[in-house]
């Protein structure tokens, strides 16, 4: 049987020359010597000069070093707080809030500075899960472009009192004209109370909630179907069949951290009885969630409604199924069969913002019994409440001059409203404009007053993420700048005498039983259902057209997910026929269609100035620092003449970072973006990520690219995020009711020029070694559960014919004992969804440098942990496998043998140690590493040494941002900041391991690594992972989770490239796809001859067969 081919790049797929020569060198660049053909002696820097300079620099260094040591001061506290011990970290429970989204978090505070965010394991919603944006949010606190003081008319106001006086005067001046408070979705019950007070003070005023990415369609459809304008809870863990119609629920849809956690529960496999959920995905583009699907069907985005209708019809719904192509018809039939077969354990989710489509989806869910099983109406989300019509009315009112004052908090319509020009024009007609936004963003720039709000790590607050499930926010640092909580400003304006903190304490003190209850809740960070009985939605006085959803009676205790049965709601199908008609008469797709999506790392663009997020590659395209148009291989061929099966074309497209630029025109607006070819994209679909191009469209609704504007964007938004990529929000369509992120007809054209995109998919290749990933299908696995185990045993027999002791016999080197602890990691590839939370967590924990776009194009990216994305199958609809790849800490490590100075060596605990202060930068280790996980500091990225020449000319402003005194506050003081010229790589978070061991020693007990769910150590990636794909611990401890994980999953266990006898300490569990299409798995090759030949044979055999 031929082995299924896995490829990271098109060059790899087609075995192209340029790609192979690139793969040969770990470090593709020549040394920075100016060489010509005259020979070494005659080059511009000959040997003698070199010796002269070396002699001089040695002497200079000796003189410099022998000078007197600098005097260092040690300044203790004046009055040390009792719970602070310098050098010991404190942990505070708080909540990550952004754009309405809220996730319970724990902030690690070291010597007064928050330096790391973890998930709160007590949260019944996310249970310790995090996302890449949440992990990176700690850097936003130290953002150099935050507004440091309140401003009026663009000038600093020295004190809050002066500001309040000015503002109060202006507020009095607007007379009886209505006041509008424009915010993102408000989840905080106390803030709602504050808003209530504020609105009562100003009669005729109202509160408008505006979400950057709208969920109005769903809210309205649910109102029509269930009588409640709300989004119910989903529990993917309870679903055996998950059907997604373009909903990127693992990446960006509603609450991805929670969904990742639930989804992974259904993807864990018990070997004794292998079952798993089945995930069917219909979409136009290739999304991260689609990449995880068991079965994925690509279609034109405009067909989403038709597919929903066809599915509903196939399930017996009283609608006529529209025409679809055969492939989709079959898919719908099959899906409908699965849904009916799993009644009560199946769900259909849809990412569309069209209320008609969502109404049909509601109909489907009602007919398959999802309500009450997977969908829980007893607890609805507060994170997305914005109704587009309300905002449209507001924009109209503003333009009519009917608004007296506009207060804006965490809303930025000038940037992310499609008709931003109209909003900006309206803003000019409002007498008083006040912004609470933390930055001089696009909207704030046009406001009269700015009083920046605290960062969430500086704030007090609370969040009701779902109805009845609360999470508290407490400050972890004294405010860095002269900022004030926006609630305090509102309270002052409403004439209240108390401040927000007092109000918050009173509110919760009353509900939690006084100070003790409040303290306990603060410590836990979450208030679990049952401990409080609060109905918080009654204070809203917003004159919304529909009835507010106060249907939940006070006193009902919403269940914790997955423990008790979910509640359903009465479904009212009267809207179905009308919705079906609307879908039927909707505009048919044009030649090319456009999808606007959110990247898992960038979201709506609020965190654009976060260099960690900018440098974190997209899971699918592996591109950094830009947005782009993803197109299908077919479109690439027809439009740009790039034929991926042709050598020269692929080289030209792939090896060079320059990508052809496409011009997209829709609704009279154009956007020029580079193209990235993504296999699996529907032939006529283009996808563009939102959240980029910050600061470039302040006044007009197109991207303004004058130098002035770009400079201003970099100054206002920040060096890392200002004017990076293009703003795609102006292209968002409006169908009269809701904003739509699918454009059925756009015009495309070649722009005629190229643009560099920093992609790292061609970096770090495996030189054709194929056994890096292993995959099978569920039926195959059921039939042969020992398949992979037998392969391993066969391999061991081949290499160790005498003793069958693979470890010992297959090498010349001796085995070294690991008497105490032996660290090991096991990664379940079936759970990993490719969300990249671990990548950012690793960057934060280990002070990994940001190198900037230019350096990424030169393959100089520094991530210690990367997530490799493999395609397999055909170009039109390939399968995708994600594999987290980090240092494998090989017990027989190829890198250790080649280091001339023993700067990398092995510890008795099984760690491959990298010693920076010993490294002389030969990079032999990096070349010899089969997994390509070693990173070289080509430059002084973090300002670790004192020679400015090590940065000059190499680093861009964006990476220099990490060299600012303010930004450097985020560095982990327990990890050395590496200087230029040394190699670095994953250390298994050795600082955490040492800390955990010390904790155990102080308590005089053995290390806990998972027995009874207790951990002394967790690596940063393990802790960040929302799907618990990464397990880590002491392998010598038979109670540890990692030992159990390996023992329980012998059938799927494999080591990457095991045949080269590196003896990794990182193991993987093979991916299992719940599909009937079998996955081809190559057989282990019969081997002859010595070890070297064996390995070659092994490799070649698989290719030839």
């Amino acid at each position: 049987m031929e082995q299924q081919k896995y490829w990271q790049s098109f060059g790899e797929l087609n075995k192209l020359n340029a790609n192979q020569s690139a793969a040969k060198d770990e470090f593709q660049e020549d040394l920075p010597f100016e060489m010509d053909d005259k020979g070494l002696l005659d080059v511009k820097t000959p040997r003698r000069d070199f010796l002269k300079y070396m002699g001089f620099s040695t002497a200079a260094a000796a003189i410099a070093a022998s000078c007197e040591m600098p005097v260092k001061k040690a300044i203790p506290f004046v009055n040390k707080p009792e719970d602070v011990i310098p050098g010991v970290a404190n942990y505070y429970a708080t909540t990550f809030v952004q754009d309405g989204e809220a996730v319970s978090a724990i902030a690690k505070v070291r010597d007064g500075r928050p330096i790391k965010i973890e998930g709160n394991e007590l949260s019944p919603i996310t249970r310790g899960g995090t996302s890449s944006r949440m992990q990176a949010s700690v850097l936003d606190l130290y953002d150099t472009s935050r507004l440091p003081y309140p401003m009026a008319n663009g000038k600093e106001v020295s004190t809050f009192d002066a500001f309040d006086k000015m503002l109060a005067g202006d507020v009095a001046g607007i007379g009886a004209a209505p006041v509008v408070l424009l915010t993102c979705s408000v989840t905080s019950p106390t803030t709602r109370q504050v808003i209530g007070q504020f609105l009562t003070k100003f009669p005729g005023s109202r509160h408008v909630q505006y979400d950057a990415v709208s969920y109005s369609g769903m809210l309205l459809a649910n109102e029509a179907s269930y009588g409640r304008r709300a989004i119910p809870s989903y529990n993917f863990a309870a679903a055996k069949v998950i059907v997604s119609l373009g909903a990127d629920f693992l990446g960006s849809w509603i609450n991805p951290v929670e969904f990742n956690k639930q989804y992974s529960i259904g993807r864990k496999i018990d070997e004794k009885n292998p079952t798993m959920s089945k995930h069917i995905h219909f979409e136009g583009m290739m999304s991260m969630t689609g990449a995880n699907a068991d079965e994925r069907y690509s279609h034109r985005p405009s067909e989403t409604g038709s597919i929903a209708l066809a599915l509903y019809a196939a399930l017996g719904g009283a609608v006529t199924a529209p025409a679809l192509n055969t492939n989709l018809q079959n898919a719908v039939r099959k899906t409908a069969g699965l849904l009916t077969g799993n009644r009560g354990a199946a769900v259909v989710v849809c990412g569309s913002n069209d209320p008609n489509i969502q109404t049909i989806v509601n109909g489907i869910n009602a007919s398959i019994g999802a309500n009450g099983s997977v969908i829980d109406w007893s607890s609805t989300y507060n994170t997305h409440q914005g109704i587009d019509a309300e905002f449209t009315t507001l924009v109209n009112d503003m333009n009519n001059g009917a608004i007296g004052a506009l207060f804006i908090h965490q809303a930025n319509p000038v940037y992310n409203y499609f008709d931003s020009k109209r909003f900006a024009d309206g803003l000019k007609k409002v007498k008083l404009t006040v912004s609470f936004n933390a930055k001089m963003d696009e909207t704030t720039e046009l406001c009269k007053y700015v009083i920046p709000d605290h960062h969430y790590l500086e704030s007090w607050g609370d969040a009701e993420i779902k109805m009845g499930q609360f999470s508290l926010i407490q400050p972890t640092i004294y405010p860095l700048f002269k900022t004030r909580q926006w609630q305090d400003t509102l309270l002052r304006l409403s004439g209240a005498t108390t401040d927000y903190l007092t109000l918050l304490k009173q509110y919760w003190g009353g509900r939690l039983g006084g100070d003790a209850g409040w303290d306990k809740a603060l410590q836990d960070g979450v208030i679990t259902p049952g401990s409080s009985q609060t109905s918080t939605r009654t204070v809203l006085t917003a004159p919304t057209s529909g009835a507010p959803d106060t249907t939940r009676s006070a006193g009902t205790v919403p269940p914790v997910f997955a423990t008790t049965g979910a509640q359903g709601a009465g479904f009212n199908g009267s809207g179905i026929a009308q919705a079906a008609n609307a879908i039927g008469s909707a505009k048919k797709g044009g030649k090319t269609e456009l999808v606007l999506y959110q990247k898992v790392t960038m979201g709506t663009g609020q965190q654009a100035n976060n260099p960690w997020l900018q440098e974190c590659p997209d899971p699918i395209t592996k591109a950094t620092w830009d947005n782009y148009a993803t197109i299908s291989p077919a479109l690439a061929k027809s439009m740009f003449g790039i034929d991926l099966t042709k050598n020269g074309d692929t080289d030209a497209y792939e090896v060079h970072p320059e990508k052809p630029v496409i011009k997209i025109t829709a609704n009279g607006k154009t956007l020029e973006l580079p193209v990235i070819i993504v296999p699996g994209t529907n032939a006529d679909t283009i996808a563009v990520a939102l959240g980029y191009g910050r600061g470039t469209n302040a006044i007009s609704d197109s991207n303004d690219e004058s130098d002035d504007r770009i400079n201003k964007a970099r100054q206002n938004i920040g060096k890392a995020g200002g004017a990076v990529g293009k703003n795609a929000y102006p292209l968002v369509a409006f169908n009269g009711v809701t904003r739509d992120y699918i454009l059925p007809a756009v015009d495309v054209d070649k722009a005629g020029h190229n643009y560099k995109v920093a992609q790292n998919q061609t970096h770090q290749t495996y030189e054709d070694r194929t056994e890096v990933v292993l995959e099978t299908s569920l039926p195959q696995f059921r039939a042969k559960p020992k398949m992979f185990q037998e392969r391993r045993e066969e391999l061991h027999k081949d290499f160790a014919p005498n003793t069958e002791n693979f470890e010992k016999e297959a090498t010349l080197y001796p085995l070294f004992p690991k008497p105490g602890i032996k660290w090991g990691m096991s990664i379940d590839m079936n759970s990993c969804t490719g969300c990249h939370a671990c990548v950012v967590a690793c960057t934060v924990e280990n002070n990994v440098a940001v190198v900037g776009k230019h350096e990424v194009t030169r393959a100089h990216d520094m991530h210690w942990l990367r997530i490799d994305r493999y395609f397999s199958g055909n170009l039109d609809n390939p399968s995708v496998v994600f594999q987290p790849m980090l240092c494998q800490h090989c017990d027989n490590a190829p890198c250790e043998n080649v280091c001339p100075v023993a700067a990398t060596n092995h510890s008795s605990e099984g760690i491959n140690q990298m010693i920076y202060n010993r490294c002389i930068g030969t990079r032999y280790c990096g070349n010899n590493c089969p997994y390509k996980v070693r990173r070289f500091n080509w430059s002084d990225y973090m300002g670790a040494d004192s020679f400015p020449d090590n940065q000059r000319g190499i680093l861009t402003d964006a990476s220099m941002m990490m060299n600012d005194d303010l930004t450097r506050m985020v560095l982990n003081p327990d990890v050395t900041v590496r200087s230029r010229g040394v190699i670095e790589k994953c250390s298994f978070c050795v600082q955490r391991l040492q800390d955990g061991k010390l904790k155990a020693k102080k308590e005089s007990r053995p290390l806990k690594s998972g027995a009874n769910g207790e951990y002394d150590v967790k690596t940063a990636c393990q802790q960040a992972c929302p799907t618990d794909a990464i397990v880590f611990g002491n392998v010598n401890d038979k109670q540890s989770t990692v030992y159990q994980h390996r023992a329980d999953n012998q059938g799927r266990l494999f080591y990457s490239l095991e045949m080269i006898h590196t003896l990794p300490n990182v193991s993987y569990l093979a991916k299992v796809r719940n599909t009937d299409t079998p996955v081809q798995i190559g057989e282990v090759q019969e081997t002859v001859g010595g070890h070297g030949e064996k390995e070659m044979e092994h490799q070649d055999g698989q290719e030839k067969k």
Partner: protein, 426 residues
């Protein structure tokens, strides 16, 4: 015989008596020694035996209280005694400006007894009697003298003698040659003698090389560094004379990677009451100038913003931190954790910091070089049997049992991976 028997009897009697006395005094001193430890652990931060600190001098405390039970109750929970309306207790409380005393509910009767025994055993310094101790200390210091100089001089003398003998030898040879009429060359003076020049060059090279290498290795090290501090703070007075536990001020050493220089509030705990230095011993700077201890306390008050003449209560808001000069510095690429050594390893502070209780001004005792760390890790045993963490090293436990591992050498830090790079560099 009779005489003998009497002698034996007397001998036995004396022996028994001696034994009894010995046991008595021994047990007594044991008590007192325990008491001393307990005293410095619990009491010393606020009390001295013969001097009023934050709390009253404790000499004669038993006589003052009279009733043993009342005193014990007071020590354990003074607040309860105060509440019970005890007259003496309340008077005392008022006399000491209502400064509350810490509670020690966990002290056992024997422990309190041993503290009191210790208090009784401390002689009043005003009565003299310190002379012997001082003399002993001086004698001890001379004992540890260095013989390098002596050897050096001896070597030099021997070298000169050898040189002279060589000269004499050559002169004699010349004389005898002359006598036997063997023609000899004009003697080469020794500064042009090639053998001498070669010898000298080699010597110079060796010495020069040694000094260069030593200097290069020593770059960035600062053994003996003894900067002048903003306040003349004598560790000898605090940790030596007054027996304050190191951890009272440097509590971080138990819990953190940093031992931590105490914050001002720790200083002020005691120095709100102690506003003058009246120790018997005078204190001197390194250069021999005498230091006025009271003036140094005044410097502290200035930093603390505390003026006893204005208010007896210290307001930390008026204080500004003292900028101490850091003495012990490690390079940034080294991770060192105090609690690892002090709490887990049970290493005494003095092992690395020297006899800090005898230093007026602190200097860097060890060179803090990597070789110094490694050497200690090679020889120091971990708390292998005592600490439950090491129970997972089953093989080593067995080997210790059956003698495969030398019991004397034991399980050293090195043995469990304590000399691997990434124990300190990450």
């Amino acid at each position: 015989m009779t005489r003998d028997r009497r002698l034996t009897k007397t001998l036995i009697k004396t022996l028994i008596l001696n034994l009894v006395i010995l046991i008595f005094s021994f047990s007594n001193s044991l008590y007192a020694q325990n008491g001393q430890a307990l005293f410095s652990q619990n009491c010393a931060s606020c009390h001295a035996v013969h001097k009023d600190l934050t709390g009253p001098a404790l000499a004669g405390v038993e006589e003052r209280w009279g009733d043993k039970d009342r005193l014990y109750a007071w020590i354990r929970n003074n607040q309860a005694v105060l509440k019970s309306g005890d007259k003496y207790a309340n008077e005392l409380y008022l006399k000491w400006n209502k400064t509350p005393m810490n509670l020690f509910p966990n002290l056992k009767d024997e422990e309190i007894a041993s503290i009191l025994t210790y208090i009784k055993s401390v002689p009043d310094p005003k009565a003299g009697g310190n002379a012997a101790g001082a003399a002993g200390a001086t004698a001890g210091q001379q004992d540890g003298g260095d013989n390098t100089l002596l050897y050096g001089i001896l070597t030099l003398i021997l070298a000169v003698v050898a040189l002279i003998l060589l000269q004499v030898n050559s002169n004699l040879k010349k004389l005898s040659d002359e006598k036997e009429h063997i023609p000899s060359l004009e003697p080469v003076p020794f500064w042009r003698n090639k053998a001498y020049i070669a010898m000298f060059t080699i010597l110079l090279f060796c010495i020069g090389g040694y000094l260069t290498v030593k200097g290069a290795i020593g770059l960035g090290r600062s053994q003996g560094y003894q900067p002048e501090q903003p306040i003349y703070y004598s560790h000898k007075v605090h940790a030596g004379t007054n027996q304050i536990s190191c951890l009272y001020c440097h509590g971080g050493a138990q819990e953190s990677k940093h031992a931590n220089i105490p914050s001002l509030n720790v200083c002020m705990n005691c120095h709100m009451a102690i506003n003058e230095y009246n120790g018997k011993e005078k204190i001197y700077k390194e250069d021999g100038t005498e230091v006025n201890g009271t003036a140094e306390i005044q410097k502290l008050y200035k930093y603390a913003g505390y003026d006893p003449a204005v208010s007896k209560v210290w307001d930390p808001n008026k204080a500004k931190p003292v900028e101490w000069v850091r003495i012990h510095n490690l390079p940034d690429h080294v991770y060192f954790n105090h609690s690892q050594h002090v709490k887990a390893g049970k290493v005494a502070c003095q092992t690395c910091h020297g006899e800090i209780q005898k230093m007026d001004e602190v200097h860097q005792f060890s060179d803090l070089s990597m070789g110094w760390c490694i050497n200690c890790h090679r020889t120091t045993q971990v708390q292998f049997k005592e600490n439950g963490f090491y129970s997972i090293y089953q093989k080593f436990h067995e080997d210790l049992q059956n003698g495969k591992i030398d019991k004397e050498k034991g399980i050293t830090v090195e043995k469990i991976g304590g000399t691997e790079c990434q124990k300190c560099h990450y």
